[in-house]
Assembly symmetry: D2
Homo-oligomer: 294 residues x 4
């Protein structure tokens, strides 16, 4: 995600010169402005999807040398050297700038093994993965054949490009790159939405739980915005913590001391980064249930 870039509108891109087009979109594919260059000549684009399809085709039709250069133009994961600003942002969002010594060592070992086997750096659309999933993918892909892995790496290049494009361009459509994590809380003791419940979101990884965000339920028992939205939901395990004890106390329910339910943790896994995970909580002071809803 190009947090440091401003968005640009599709009409503006359609009407500008080739040079402005390439300046605007050259960074969508890491160190490969030629992809934007080939798309420039096919303007105008009615939709962002049209534009992405043309860039996708440019990659598919590229020569073997161009492909290899494209793959090699990506930085290694958890690498501290020179990177494009987009890559820095993406890797930092995935926590790769906050690795422990042991973790950095693991990445170093895997990066080396990978580059030796395949001849280019390990490329992963890290915004689609949680901490554990990145390493699991790394290890899984080290076991692939050269052909399989070349295809897998290119698919990741395109995923990175689509995400960057979706963030960069304001157009009439959005690329299908975002998932959603949402919830709602129903107070089953009174059959009404539970308002004012604090919810914390954590990523549950093998090295601990990492705070992702928090929200408060509104009068509908929902949160004003999704817990995670407008971006992929990283493939990971999560824990939602619903602070129901404070809510029940504020409502004046008779409670034990300590209350039977205070913080309700709901732990679940996300396997599809672009899917909608609705994880509600139906709760009374003495019971609750949850499910993957829709």
């Amino acid at each position: 995600m190009s947090l440091h870039n401003e968005t640009v509108s599709l009409p503006t891109l359609n009407q500008g010169t080739d040079a402005t087009f390439i300046e605007g979109l050259g960074g969508m594919f890491e160190n490969a402005p030629w992809i934007a260059g080939r798309a420039a000549s096919q303007r105008p684009f009615a939709t962002v999807a049209d534009l992405f399809r043309v860039m996708h085709e440019a990659v598919e039709r590229a020569s073997e040398e161009e492909i290899l250069a494209l793959l090699r133009g990506h930085p290694e994961l958890a690498f501290s050297g020179a990177m494009t600003r987009d890559s820095v942002d993406e890797q930092n969002a995935a926590g790769l700038d906050r690795l422990s010594g042991a973790q950095r060592e693991t990445f170093g070992r895997l990066n080396k093994a990978y580059r030796e086997k395949f001849g280019f750096p390990f490329i992963l659309c890290v915004r689609r993965h949680g901490r554990d999933s990145i390493l699991r993918e790394f290890e899984r892909r080290l076991g692939l054949s050269a052909d399989q892995e070349r295809e897998t790496a290119l698919a990741e290049v395109l995923r990175i490009g689509a995400l960057r494009l979706d963030q960069r361009i304001a157009g009439p459509d959005r690329l299908p790159v975002a998932g959603r994590l949402s919830t709602h809380v129903l107070d089953t003791a009174i059959g009404r939405p539970a308002a004012g419940i604090e919810i914390e979101v954590f990523e549950v990884a093998s090295d601990g739980q990492h705070f992702v965000g928090h929200a408060t339920t509104n009068a509908d028992g929902r949160t004003d915005r999704p817990l995670i939205g407008d971006r992929p939901v990283p493939i990971a395990n999560y824990e939602l913590r619903f602070h129901v004890g404070a809510y029940f106390q504020a409502k004046g329910y008779p409670l034990a001391d300590p209350a039977f339910l205070d913080v309700v943790p709901i732990r679940f896994g996300v396997a599809e980064a672009e899917a909608h995970y609705h994880v509600p909580l139906l709760v009374s002071p003495w019971s609750y249930s949850t499910y993957r809803g829709s």
Copy 2:
């Protein structure tokens, strides 16, 4: 609990000499063998409840000096000096031998303030309390009046005595000193008990989660023995962790990767140490519910 003592049968106690009776039961009340002494003359006892009632009455009828000596005969909590073996066992079971420096300092400060205000050490039946609850009780009781606290302290002395007696004597009855924490797991996808599910029990305290025990569900979806049983359930917050992912995988259910449900944590508070808390899990690969049952 006198883990190091063997149990003795009520008939044996009834038939022995006063001296054996006092030797057997003199430790039920800390440093106060005279309570057993007064009970000895009222033998035989048909039930343990009868015996306890007589000891209870001996305490109630004791002189002011005897009561003060009884209270002063107890050790301070988290105190490292000379204690009876029963007290050492009880305090260690409550984790008071594994306090951090800061915690030990807190206990030191509270012990001092308490003794200055009331003139005897703080007495608590620690087997009825979790880590946080011990400190909460300490602070709450520091705020009581001298009369209220004398009564409260005596009630705790009797609770300690009842628990020791229940563990010490094999009789036709049990004193109502034990609570119970139990569970069962139902697989709602197939409408059958879920067998072979690993369950871990943790105490959730302000300084972290402390492992209490674990169990595996049997063919009835229950555990062969209660998660906590045959003793008070310490007043505390708990987390049960049900390892359902391994179960569903073993059953061959189609699962996502990572699975939607892997470890299901159920967190709840216990407010009545002698009550039965049944906390079941009704679970499919995509939903679950729990409640305080009976």
Copy 3:
């Protein structure tokens, strides 16, 4: 509801003559075209709510004689004589044209007692009530004082008027006269919406269950339209019957014979005709739950 009338747009009403306005809206209040007459002079109306407020005020400011005439202009319930077409439609929709002999006798008796006590016929916005609720209201209101009942009857006149207006006029807004009954079905065995489930809706009355309608769940596990919508949800008890057995069989789930769950009946009461009742079903072949949701 004027099923036989076509809707008319607010701008048309605003721009026409007083005569057309009164012709269009004279029937909104039973046999009282003067109410529309007084509103005509205050045109134009920006919203239907504005128009209704002006009519409401006309009723409030009417003389005692006009009010009495307004009340007396309404037909009796379950009366077979001359009625406006609107009243016929409304009473028939409430099933008052299909009463048994005993029920007709009850209405006759109540109508007579009511008219004798209050001097005007019993007026009820029958579209807000189920079979049992109409009679319960009748008996309850017979017990009111003359002042209380005059106020209650006028409030019903206004409710009838609001409902007719809402159906008659196409404007920028809707009057808040409609409730909603909706559902969704989630298959908790697979964590997905259950599509293709047949749902029947019955009113559960003291004289039996009356078919209200049916629907089938779509790919979202919802119904394309609410089970009851765009009108009040009559105050009554309901039973939804979800034909889950056919769904599970079609999905190839292993089922017992007979299946543990085939038709799941959910029975509940509606007390607020203008509220939203969302009554979902979370179901596996061996378990289900429901709740009043939002």
Copy 4:
């Protein structure tokens, strides 16, 4: 079930003469006292299971003529002529004495077709079946081959015998002929068993719902005895009706009018007559869930 017979103890049977033994157990197999006769010589029996196994073997070793006579010794279903008292009791318990004209005609037609095809009457352990299941079995078995059906009929003869034996003899063990239908009700608004809830049990058949029995929950939220117990649970669909509205009202919960939940119907199928069906209700005034438990 020989309701009119008194039970007899196994020791009494072991110690009596052959004649008393045969007199006591001759009726266990319809019009076939020879089976008891062959078992008499193998006394004493330590358990009822031992005795039944010996009778079972006597049937297995019988000659072709004896088998045919055994099968032909059974009455037709819904037949009004001469029957043993055991058969009358069993058929009446299954409601076969209360058939409508059309149903009697159906049985007549099936009985005739069956006897013509197989040469003996249709034998079914009717205590294991509900109304619809009897007819379904009848039609299913009419389609079997002569060999298959002879085996099926003999298995039913043995089931009838086992049930009669289990009711007749007081021994150290019970034959595994009984199923169980049980429930419990938990009030999830307060996390406690719901006491005093009226429960009605109905069999849901194609010709309507038939009252089976009723019970009231005790302080544990359970019923003092199973809803159906000490006998097979007839293969059928059932509806439990929990009168929760009266309970919530008595507890003083704030309720709507009409209440959201008043009578909660739970409808389910029983496929295994000897199994345990535990069908609980977890309910608050605004939500409930149920499942097949254990």
